[in-house]
Amino acid sequence: MKDVSPKMPYWSHRGRRRHSSTMAHRIGSGLILPLGLVVFAGFFATGVLFVPSEISGKVGTLIAALGASFLRLFIAYIFALVIGVALGLLAERGRRVESALLPIFDVLESLPVLAFFPVIIIIFLKANFLEGAAIFIIFFSMVWNIAFSVVGGVRQTPEDVKAVGVVFGMTRMERLRKVLLPSVFPAILTGSILAVADGWNIVIVAEALRAYAPQADTAHDLFGIGSILVHASSTGDSSMLVAAMTVLVIAIALLNIAVWQPLLAYAERFKFE
Protein backbone atom coordinates (compact mmCIF):
# COMPACT_ATOMS: atom_id res chain seq x y z
CA MET A 1 0.00 0.00 0.00
CA LYS A 2 1.45 3.34 -0.96
CA ASP A 3 1.53 6.08 1.66
CA VAL A 4 -0.55 8.86 0.24
CA SER A 5 -0.84 10.86 3.44
CA PRO A 6 0.13 14.48 2.97
CA LYS A 7 3.60 15.29 4.23
CA MET A 8 3.09 18.31 6.41
CA PRO A 9 5.94 20.70 6.93
CA TYR A 10 6.49 21.47 10.62
CA TRP A 11 5.29 25.03 10.23
CA SER A 12 1.95 24.17 8.69
CA HIS A 13 -1.27 24.24 10.71
CA ARG A 14 -3.13 20.94 10.07
CA GLY A 15 -1.97 20.75 6.48
CA ARG A 16 -2.18 24.45 5.76
CA ARG A 17 0.97 24.98 3.79
CA ARG A 18 3.17 27.99 4.07
CA HIS A 19 2.59 30.23 1.11
CA SER A 20 3.01 33.87 0.39
CA SER A 21 -0.51 34.89 1.34
CA THR A 22 -0.19 33.17 4.77
CA MET A 23 3.13 34.91 5.44
CA ALA A 24 1.71 38.23 4.28
CA HIS A 25 -1.28 37.67 6.55
CA ARG A 26 0.98 36.93 9.52
CA ILE A 27 3.22 39.91 8.92
CA GLY A 28 0.17 42.07 8.29
CA SER A 29 -1.70 41.07 11.42
CA GLY A 30 1.32 40.47 13.64
CA LEU A 31 3.57 43.39 12.81
CA ILE A 32 2.12 46.07 10.55
CA LEU A 33 -1.24 46.40 12.26
CA PRO A 34 0.07 46.82 15.85
CA LEU A 35 2.82 49.10 14.59
CA GLY A 36 0.28 51.19 12.70
CA LEU A 37 -1.80 51.51 15.86
CA VAL A 38 1.24 52.74 17.82
CA VAL A 39 2.13 55.29 15.15
CA PHE A 40 -1.50 56.38 14.93
CA ALA A 41 -1.85 56.72 18.73
CA GLY A 42 1.53 58.43 18.92
CA PHE A 43 0.49 60.92 16.27
CA PHE A 44 -2.57 61.93 18.27
CA ALA A 45 -0.64 62.07 21.55
CA THR A 46 2.37 63.99 20.30
CA GLY A 47 1.63 65.39 16.88
CA VAL A 48 4.70 63.53 15.65
CA LEU A 49 4.15 61.11 12.76
CA PHE A 50 7.08 58.75 13.38
CA VAL A 51 10.37 58.51 15.26
CA PRO A 52 11.61 62.08 15.34
CA SER A 53 15.17 62.98 14.37
CA GLU A 54 16.30 63.70 17.94
CA ILE A 55 15.46 60.10 18.84
CA SER A 56 17.14 58.55 15.84
CA GLY A 57 20.51 58.93 17.55
CA LYS A 58 19.13 57.00 20.52
CA VAL A 59 17.88 54.03 18.54
CA GLY A 60 20.97 52.09 19.59
CA THR A 61 20.16 52.85 23.25
CA LEU A 62 16.58 51.71 22.76
CA ILE A 63 17.67 48.46 21.15
CA ALA A 64 20.22 47.86 23.93
CA ALA A 65 17.48 48.57 26.49
CA LEU A 66 15.20 46.14 24.70
CA GLY A 67 17.98 43.55 24.80
CA ALA A 68 18.43 44.08 28.56
CA SER A 69 14.67 43.72 29.17
CA PHE A 70 14.50 40.67 26.92
CA LEU A 71 17.38 39.02 28.80
CA ARG A 72 15.59 39.64 32.13
CA LEU A 73 12.40 38.20 30.66
CA PHE A 74 14.26 35.20 29.24
CA ILE A 75 15.99 34.33 32.53
CA ALA A 76 12.68 34.66 34.41
CA TYR A 77 10.98 32.52 31.74
CA ILE A 78 13.55 29.72 32.04
CA PHE A 79 12.97 29.60 35.83
CA ALA A 80 9.19 29.78 35.31
CA LEU A 81 9.31 27.02 32.69
CA VAL A 82 11.30 24.58 34.85
CA ILE A 83 9.41 25.31 38.08
CA GLY A 84 5.98 25.68 36.40
CA VAL A 85 6.28 22.33 34.57
CA ALA A 86 7.55 20.63 37.75
CA LEU A 87 4.68 22.08 39.83
CA GLY A 88 2.12 21.16 37.16
CA LEU A 89 3.35 17.57 36.95
CA LEU A 90 3.57 17.32 40.74
CA ALA A 91 -0.03 18.50 41.16
CA GLU A 92 -1.23 15.75 38.83
CA ARG A 93 0.56 12.91 40.60
CA GLY A 94 -2.54 11.85 42.51
CA ARG A 95 -5.85 13.04 43.86
CA ARG A 96 -4.46 13.75 47.33
CA VAL A 97 -1.53 15.78 46.02
CA GLU A 98 -3.85 17.60 43.62
CA SER A 99 -6.37 18.49 46.33
CA ALA A 100 -3.54 19.79 48.53
CA LEU A 101 -1.58 21.73 45.92
CA LEU A 102 -4.17 23.24 43.58
CA PRO A 103 -5.78 25.49 46.26
CA ILE A 104 -2.29 26.77 47.16
CA PHE A 105 -1.56 27.48 43.49
CA ASP A 106 -4.93 29.26 43.22
CA VAL A 107 -4.14 31.56 46.14
CA LEU A 108 -0.59 32.27 44.97
CA GLU A 109 -1.79 32.98 41.43
CA SER A 110 -4.45 35.37 42.73
CA LEU A 111 -1.97 37.39 44.78
CA PRO A 112 -1.44 40.76 43.10
CA VAL A 113 2.27 40.55 42.48
CA LEU A 114 2.73 44.32 42.63
CA ALA A 115 1.23 44.42 46.14
CA PHE A 116 4.24 42.75 47.67
CA PHE A 117 6.73 44.11 45.12
CA PRO A 118 8.01 46.75 47.61
CA VAL A 119 8.82 44.03 50.16
CA ILE A 120 10.68 42.04 47.52
CA ILE A 121 12.63 45.10 46.43
CA ILE A 122 13.61 45.96 50.00
CA ILE A 123 14.84 42.38 50.52
CA PHE A 124 16.87 42.46 47.29
CA LEU A 125 17.97 46.08 47.94
CA LYS A 126 19.55 44.95 51.21
CA ALA A 127 21.47 42.33 49.27
CA ASN A 128 22.26 44.97 46.62
CA PHE A 129 20.78 42.66 43.97
CA LEU A 130 18.08 44.67 42.20
CA GLU A 131 18.27 42.55 39.04
CA GLY A 132 17.15 39.68 41.25
CA ALA A 133 14.09 41.63 42.38
CA ALA A 134 13.04 42.34 38.80
CA ILE A 135 13.65 38.77 37.62
CA PHE A 136 11.83 37.34 40.64
CA ILE A 137 8.78 39.51 40.10
CA ILE A 138 8.66 38.64 36.38
CA PHE A 139 9.10 34.97 37.23
CA PHE A 140 6.29 35.11 39.77
CA SER A 141 3.90 36.61 37.24
CA MET A 142 4.80 33.90 34.71
CA VAL A 143 5.02 30.65 36.62
CA TRP A 144 1.30 30.08 37.31
CA ASN A 145 0.34 30.33 33.65
CA ILE A 146 2.71 27.45 32.91
CA ALA A 147 1.80 25.40 36.01
CA PHE A 148 -1.97 25.56 35.37
CA SER A 149 -1.52 24.85 31.65
CA VAL A 150 0.51 21.74 32.49
CA VAL A 151 -2.17 20.58 34.97
CA GLY A 152 -4.73 20.94 32.15
CA GLY A 153 -2.42 19.18 29.69
CA VAL A 154 -1.91 16.17 31.96
CA ARG A 155 -5.68 15.90 32.51
CA GLN A 156 -6.28 15.94 28.76
CA THR A 157 -3.74 13.18 28.11
CA PRO A 158 -5.73 9.94 27.56
CA GLU A 159 -5.36 7.44 30.41
CA ASP A 160 -4.41 4.71 27.91
CA VAL A 161 -1.50 6.78 26.62
CA LYS A 162 -0.26 7.38 30.18
CA ALA A 163 -0.57 3.62 30.76
CA VAL A 164 1.59 2.75 27.72
CA GLY A 165 4.78 3.67 29.57
CA VAL A 166 3.89 1.47 32.55
CA VAL A 167 2.67 -1.50 30.49
CA PHE A 168 5.77 -1.48 28.27
CA GLY A 169 8.12 -1.35 31.24
CA MET A 170 9.52 2.17 30.90
CA THR A 171 11.36 3.64 33.88
CA ARG A 172 9.88 6.76 35.52
CA MET A 173 12.43 8.92 33.73
CA GLU A 174 11.62 7.30 30.37
CA ARG A 175 7.88 7.80 30.96
CA LEU A 176 8.49 11.46 31.75
CA ARG A 177 10.76 12.01 28.76
CA LYS A 178 9.03 9.87 26.14
CA VAL A 179 5.35 10.09 27.12
CA LEU A 180 4.39 12.75 29.65
CA LEU A 181 6.45 15.77 28.56
CA PRO A 182 5.63 15.39 24.84
CA SER A 183 1.94 14.91 25.66
CA VAL A 184 1.85 18.21 27.59
CA PHE A 185 4.01 20.08 25.07
CA PRO A 186 1.04 21.98 23.51
CA ALA A 187 -0.08 22.98 27.02
CA ILE A 188 3.45 24.12 27.96
CA LEU A 189 3.51 26.20 24.81
CA THR A 190 0.13 27.82 25.48
CA GLY A 191 1.20 28.54 29.07
CA SER A 192 4.50 29.97 27.83
CA ILE A 193 2.79 32.37 25.42
CA LEU A 194 0.51 33.64 28.21
CA ALA A 195 3.45 33.76 30.64
CA VAL A 196 5.65 35.81 28.33
CA ALA A 197 2.75 38.17 27.59
CA ASP A 198 2.33 38.70 31.35
CA GLY A 199 6.11 39.08 31.61
CA TRP A 200 6.14 41.96 29.10
CA ASN A 201 3.45 43.69 31.20
CA ILE A 202 5.40 43.29 34.41
CA VAL A 203 8.82 44.09 32.94
CA ILE A 204 7.73 47.71 32.50
CA VAL A 205 7.12 48.16 36.23
CA ALA A 206 9.81 45.71 37.33
CA GLU A 207 12.49 47.99 35.90
CA ALA A 208 11.20 51.22 37.44
CA LEU A 209 12.11 50.20 40.97
CA ARG A 210 12.14 53.65 42.53
CA ALA A 211 8.35 53.78 42.32
CA TYR A 212 8.02 50.84 44.71
CA ALA A 213 10.70 51.20 47.38
CA PRO A 214 10.98 54.09 49.83
CA GLN A 215 14.78 54.03 49.87
CA ALA A 216 15.14 53.81 46.11
CA ASP A 217 15.55 56.66 43.61
CA THR A 218 16.03 56.95 39.83
CA ALA A 219 19.55 55.61 40.24
CA HIS A 220 17.99 52.33 41.30
CA ASP A 221 16.00 51.96 38.06
CA LEU A 222 17.21 49.11 35.92
CA PHE A 223 18.31 49.82 32.38
CA GLY A 224 15.62 48.46 30.08
CA ILE A 225 12.78 49.33 27.74
CA GLY A 226 10.37 49.40 30.71
CA SER A 227 12.30 52.00 32.69
CA ILE A 228 12.75 54.13 29.54
CA LEU A 229 8.97 54.03 29.01
CA VAL A 230 8.25 54.97 32.63
CA HIS A 231 10.89 57.73 32.57
CA ALA A 232 9.64 59.14 29.25
CA SER A 233 6.09 59.09 30.55
CA SER A 234 6.93 60.81 33.87
CA THR A 235 9.03 63.53 32.19
CA GLY A 236 6.53 64.11 29.38
CA ASP A 237 9.01 63.05 26.70
CA SER A 238 6.31 61.99 24.20
CA SER A 239 8.62 61.36 21.29
CA MET A 240 10.76 58.98 23.34
CA LEU A 241 7.61 57.31 24.61
CA VAL A 242 6.40 56.66 21.05
CA ALA A 243 9.84 55.47 19.95
CA ALA A 244 10.15 53.06 22.89
CA MET A 245 6.64 51.75 22.33
CA THR A 246 7.40 51.24 18.64
CA VAL A 247 10.53 49.23 19.44
CA LEU A 248 8.58 47.18 22.00
CA VAL A 249 5.74 46.43 19.57
CA ILE A 250 8.18 45.38 16.84
CA ALA A 251 10.01 43.07 19.26
CA ILE A 252 6.80 41.44 20.52
CA ALA A 253 5.47 41.04 16.97
CA LEU A 254 8.74 39.51 15.76
CA LEU A 255 8.75 37.12 18.73
CA ASN A 256 5.25 36.07 17.77
CA ILE A 257 6.05 35.57 14.10
CA ALA A 258 9.46 33.98 14.48
CA VAL A 259 8.98 31.86 17.63
CA TRP A 260 5.40 31.34 18.81
CA GLN A 261 3.69 30.80 15.45
CA PRO A 262 6.12 28.13 14.20
CA LEU A 263 6.04 26.43 17.62
CA LEU A 264 2.23 26.46 17.64
CA ALA A 265 2.23 24.83 14.21
CA TYR A 266 4.80 22.26 15.38
CA ALA A 267 2.71 21.52 18.51
CA GLU A 268 -0.17 20.30 16.34
CA ARG A 269 1.52 16.92 15.95
CA PHE A 270 1.53 16.44 19.74
CA LYS A 271 -2.24 16.82 20.08
CA PHE A 272 -4.53 13.88 20.74
CA GLU A 273 -7.57 13.43 18.52
Binding site: S5, V161, V166, F168, G169, P182, R269
Partner: protein, 241 residues
Protein backbone atom coordinates in the same frame (compact mmCIF):
# COMPACT_ATOMS: atom_id res chain seq x y z
CA UNK B 1 7.02 -23.09 32.35
CA UNK B 2 5.20 -26.44 32.55
CA UNK B 3 1.94 -27.10 30.71
CA UNK B 4 0.00 -27.09 33.99
CA UNK B 5 1.54 -24.02 35.62
CA UNK B 6 -0.86 -21.14 35.13
CA UNK B 7 0.51 -18.06 33.37
CA UNK B 8 -1.69 -15.88 35.54
CA UNK B 9 -3.48 -16.58 38.75
CA UNK B 10 -6.07 -14.47 40.63
CA UNK B 11 -6.87 -15.67 44.17
CA UNK B 12 -9.72 -13.95 46.04
CA UNK B 13 -8.82 -10.58 44.59
CA UNK B 14 -10.75 -7.56 45.82
CA UNK B 15 -10.34 -3.96 44.68
CA UNK B 16 -12.01 -0.63 45.29
CA UNK B 17 -11.13 2.71 43.63
CA UNK B 18 -12.21 4.68 46.74
CA UNK B 19 -11.96 3.62 50.41
CA UNK B 20 -15.65 3.98 51.29
CA UNK B 21 -17.40 2.86 48.13
CA UNK B 22 -18.47 -0.72 47.25
CA UNK B 23 -15.59 -2.70 45.73
CA UNK B 24 -15.45 -2.98 41.94
CA UNK B 25 -13.97 -6.50 42.31
CA UNK B 26 -15.06 -8.97 45.01
CA UNK B 27 -13.19 -12.22 45.68
CA UNK B 28 -12.26 -12.83 42.04
CA UNK B 29 -10.40 -16.08 41.41
CA UNK B 30 -9.31 -17.61 38.12
CA UNK B 31 -6.24 -19.08 36.40
CA UNK B 32 -5.04 -18.74 32.83
CA UNK B 33 -3.30 -21.78 31.40
CA UNK B 34 -0.48 -21.29 28.86
CA UNK B 35 -1.63 -20.77 25.27
CA UNK B 36 -5.28 -20.23 26.23
CA UNK B 37 -7.55 -17.55 24.76
CA UNK B 38 -9.90 -16.20 27.43
CA UNK B 39 -12.47 -13.48 26.87
CA UNK B 40 -14.07 -11.57 29.75
CA UNK B 41 -17.57 -10.27 29.02
CA UNK B 42 -20.01 -8.36 31.16
CA UNK B 43 -22.00 -5.17 31.47
CA UNK B 44 -20.35 -1.73 31.78
CA UNK B 45 -18.97 -1.08 35.24
CA UNK B 46 -18.78 -4.77 36.13
CA UNK B 47 -15.03 -4.56 36.74
CA UNK B 48 -13.74 -6.10 33.49
CA UNK B 49 -11.15 -3.43 32.67
CA UNK B 50 -10.05 -3.23 36.32
CA UNK B 51 -8.69 -6.77 35.93
CA UNK B 52 -6.30 -5.55 33.23
CA UNK B 53 -5.24 -2.56 35.34
CA UNK B 54 -4.38 -4.92 38.20
CA UNK B 55 -2.47 -7.34 35.96
CA UNK B 56 -0.37 -4.56 34.42
CA UNK B 57 0.35 -2.91 37.77
CA UNK B 58 -1.54 0.30 36.99
CA UNK B 59 -3.53 -0.40 40.18
CA UNK B 60 -2.78 -2.64 43.15
CA UNK B 61 -5.22 -5.15 44.62
CA UNK B 62 -6.22 -4.37 48.22
CA UNK B 63 -7.23 -7.96 48.90
CA UNK B 64 -6.17 -11.38 47.68
CA UNK B 65 -3.20 -12.31 45.55
CA UNK B 66 -2.24 -12.00 41.88
CA UNK B 67 0.55 -14.15 40.51
CA UNK B 68 1.82 -13.25 37.06
CA UNK B 69 4.98 -14.96 35.86
CA UNK B 70 4.63 -13.98 32.21
CA UNK B 71 6.05 -11.06 30.24
CA UNK B 72 2.83 -9.12 29.81
CA UNK B 73 1.94 -6.56 27.17
CA UNK B 74 -1.33 -4.90 26.24
CA UNK B 75 -3.31 -3.80 23.19
CA UNK B 76 -5.41 -0.78 24.05
CA UNK B 77 -8.76 0.50 22.83
CA UNK B 78 -8.03 2.72 19.82
CA UNK B 79 -4.35 1.76 19.81
CA UNK B 80 -3.12 4.35 22.35
CA UNK B 81 -0.36 5.43 19.97
CA UNK B 82 1.85 8.43 20.63
CA UNK B 83 0.75 11.01 18.03
CA UNK B 84 4.16 12.71 17.87
CA UNK B 85 5.97 9.51 16.89
CA UNK B 86 5.92 7.76 13.52
CA UNK B 87 4.41 4.30 13.18
CA UNK B 88 7.91 2.77 13.26
CA UNK B 89 8.88 4.61 16.45
CA UNK B 90 5.57 3.69 18.08
CA UNK B 91 6.29 0.03 17.38
CA UNK B 92 9.84 0.41 18.74
CA UNK B 93 8.37 1.34 22.15
CA UNK B 94 7.70 -2.40 22.40
CA UNK B 95 11.47 -2.99 22.63
CA UNK B 96 11.72 -1.11 25.94
CA UNK B 97 13.92 -3.12 28.27
CA UNK B 98 15.31 -5.34 25.50
CA UNK B 99 18.98 -4.96 24.68
CA UNK B 100 18.99 -4.69 20.89
CA UNK B 101 20.86 -2.34 18.59
CA UNK B 102 18.90 0.34 16.73
CA UNK B 103 19.41 -1.59 13.48
CA UNK B 104 18.03 -4.76 15.04
CA UNK B 105 15.04 -2.88 16.44
CA UNK B 106 14.44 -1.30 13.06
CA UNK B 107 14.61 -4.65 11.30
CA UNK B 108 12.34 -6.43 13.81
CA UNK B 109 9.78 -3.62 13.82
CA UNK B 110 9.61 -3.47 10.01
CA UNK B 111 9.29 -7.25 9.84
CA UNK B 112 6.33 -7.21 12.25
CA UNK B 113 4.69 -4.34 10.36
CA UNK B 114 5.09 -6.34 7.15
CA UNK B 115 3.44 -9.37 8.76
CA UNK B 116 0.51 -7.16 9.73
CA UNK B 117 0.31 -5.61 6.25
CA UNK B 118 1.11 -2.02 7.20
CA UNK B 119 4.80 -1.76 6.31
CA UNK B 120 4.04 1.03 3.84
CA UNK B 121 2.84 3.25 6.71
CA UNK B 122 6.10 2.96 8.71
CA UNK B 123 6.95 6.62 8.32
CA UNK B 124 3.38 7.93 8.70
CA UNK B 125 2.05 9.56 11.85
CA UNK B 126 -0.93 7.98 13.68
CA UNK B 127 -3.28 10.81 12.65
CA UNK B 128 -2.94 9.67 9.03
CA UNK B 129 -4.04 6.10 9.79
CA UNK B 130 -7.50 4.53 9.84
CA UNK B 131 -8.85 3.00 13.07
CA UNK B 132 -7.95 -0.51 11.89
CA UNK B 133 -4.42 0.52 10.93
CA UNK B 134 -3.88 2.16 14.31
CA UNK B 135 -4.98 -0.99 16.02
CA UNK B 136 -2.55 -3.03 13.88
CA UNK B 137 0.27 -0.71 14.97
CA UNK B 138 -0.81 -1.30 18.58
CA UNK B 139 -0.67 -5.05 17.94
CA UNK B 140 2.77 -4.75 16.32
CA UNK B 141 4.03 -2.74 19.32
CA UNK B 142 2.88 -5.49 21.65
CA UNK B 143 4.22 -8.35 19.49
CA UNK B 144 7.79 -7.05 19.09
CA UNK B 145 8.24 -7.38 22.84
CA UNK B 146 7.72 -11.17 22.52
CA UNK B 147 4.90 -11.26 25.08
CA UNK B 148 3.93 -14.43 26.93
CA UNK B 149 0.62 -12.92 28.03
CA UNK B 150 -1.21 -10.50 25.76
CA UNK B 151 -4.00 -8.38 27.21
CA UNK B 152 -6.55 -6.93 24.81
CA UNK B 153 -8.75 -4.12 26.14
CA UNK B 154 -11.81 -3.98 23.86
CA UNK B 155 -9.61 -3.82 20.76
CA UNK B 156 -12.55 -3.75 18.32
CA UNK B 157 -14.81 -1.26 20.09
CA UNK B 158 -14.04 1.63 17.73
CA UNK B 159 -13.98 -0.40 14.50
CA UNK B 160 -16.57 -1.20 11.84
CA UNK B 161 -17.80 -4.77 11.30
CA UNK B 162 -15.56 -5.52 8.32
CA UNK B 163 -12.40 -4.25 10.04
CA UNK B 164 -13.35 -6.10 13.23
CA UNK B 165 -13.63 -9.36 11.24
CA UNK B 166 -10.23 -8.86 9.55
CA UNK B 167 -8.51 -7.92 12.80
CA UNK B 168 -10.12 -10.83 14.69
CA UNK B 169 -8.72 -13.22 12.08
CA UNK B 170 -5.32 -11.57 12.47
CA UNK B 171 -5.36 -11.96 16.26
CA UNK B 172 -6.46 -15.56 15.94
CA UNK B 173 -3.63 -16.25 13.48
CA UNK B 174 -1.08 -14.73 15.90
CA UNK B 175 -2.55 -16.72 18.79
CA UNK B 176 -2.33 -20.00 16.91
CA UNK B 177 1.11 -19.39 15.36
CA UNK B 178 2.87 -17.93 18.41
CA UNK B 179 0.92 -19.74 21.15
CA UNK B 180 0.62 -16.53 23.16
CA UNK B 181 -1.77 -16.65 26.12
CA UNK B 182 -4.46 -14.04 25.49
CA UNK B 183 -6.92 -12.33 27.81
CA UNK B 184 -9.40 -10.09 26.06
CA UNK B 185 -12.04 -7.74 27.47
CA UNK B 186 -15.03 -7.42 25.17
CA UNK B 187 -18.55 -6.09 24.93
CA UNK B 188 -19.12 -8.06 21.75
CA UNK B 189 -20.46 -11.50 22.64
CA UNK B 190 -20.40 -12.82 19.06
CA UNK B 191 -16.78 -11.86 18.78
CA UNK B 192 -16.00 -13.47 22.12
CA UNK B 193 -17.54 -16.78 21.05
CA UNK B 194 -15.75 -16.70 17.68
CA UNK B 195 -12.33 -16.23 19.32
CA UNK B 196 -12.29 -17.68 22.83
CA UNK B 197 -11.74 -21.12 24.19
CA UNK B 198 -13.01 -19.84 27.53
CA UNK B 199 -15.46 -17.06 28.40
CA UNK B 200 -15.64 -15.51 31.87
CA UNK B 201 -18.91 -13.69 32.52
CA UNK B 202 -18.51 -10.78 34.91
CA UNK B 203 -21.28 -9.13 36.83
CA UNK B 204 -21.18 -6.82 39.83
CA UNK B 205 -17.48 -7.45 40.45
CA UNK B 206 -17.72 -11.25 40.44
CA UNK B 207 -17.28 -14.05 37.93
CA UNK B 208 -20.82 -15.36 37.54
CA UNK B 209 -20.10 -17.95 34.87
CA UNK B 210 -17.06 -19.73 33.43
CA UNK B 211 -17.92 -21.09 29.98
CA UNK B 212 -15.65 -23.39 28.02
CA UNK B 213 -15.81 -23.09 24.20
CA UNK B 214 -14.31 -26.21 22.70
CA UNK B 215 -15.47 -25.71 19.11
CA UNK B 216 -12.78 -26.10 16.42
CA UNK B 217 -11.48 -22.99 14.63
CA UNK B 218 -12.14 -21.29 12.30
CA UNK B 219 -15.73 -20.91 13.49
CA UNK B 220 -18.70 -19.79 11.45
CA UNK B 221 -21.15 -17.36 12.97
CA UNK B 222 -24.01 -19.26 11.30
CA UNK B 223 -22.96 -22.56 12.92
CA UNK B 224 -25.86 -23.68 15.21
CA UNK B 225 -23.39 -24.62 17.97
CA UNK B 226 -21.83 -21.14 17.85
CA UNK B 227 -25.31 -19.60 17.93
CA UNK B 228 -26.27 -21.75 20.90
CA UNK B 229 -23.22 -20.57 22.90
CA UNK B 230 -23.91 -16.94 21.94
CA UNK B 231 -27.47 -17.27 23.27
CA UNK B 232 -26.21 -18.92 26.45
CA UNK B 233 -23.70 -16.10 27.11
CA UNK B 234 -26.31 -13.44 26.31
CA UNK B 235 -28.68 -14.96 28.86
CA UNK B 236 -26.01 -15.02 31.53
CA UNK B 237 -25.20 -11.29 31.24
CA UNK B 238 -27.53 -8.87 33.04
CA UNK B 239 -28.53 -5.92 30.83
CA UNK B 240 -26.66 -2.61 31.24
CA UNK B 241 -29.80 -0.64 31.72
Amino acid sequence: MSEDTPVLSFSDVGFSYEPHVPPILKNVSFNLSPGSFTVVVGPSGSGKSTILRLITGLDTAQKGHIQNTARTRMIFQGGALLPWETVLNNVKIGFTGRTLTEAQKDHEARKTLTELGIQSRSDSYPRHLSGGQRQRVGIARALVSAPELLLLDEPFSALDTETTKRLSDEILRIHEEQKITMLMISHNIENAVMLADRILVFSDGCITEDISVSLPRPREITDPEVQSIIKHVQKSIPSDG
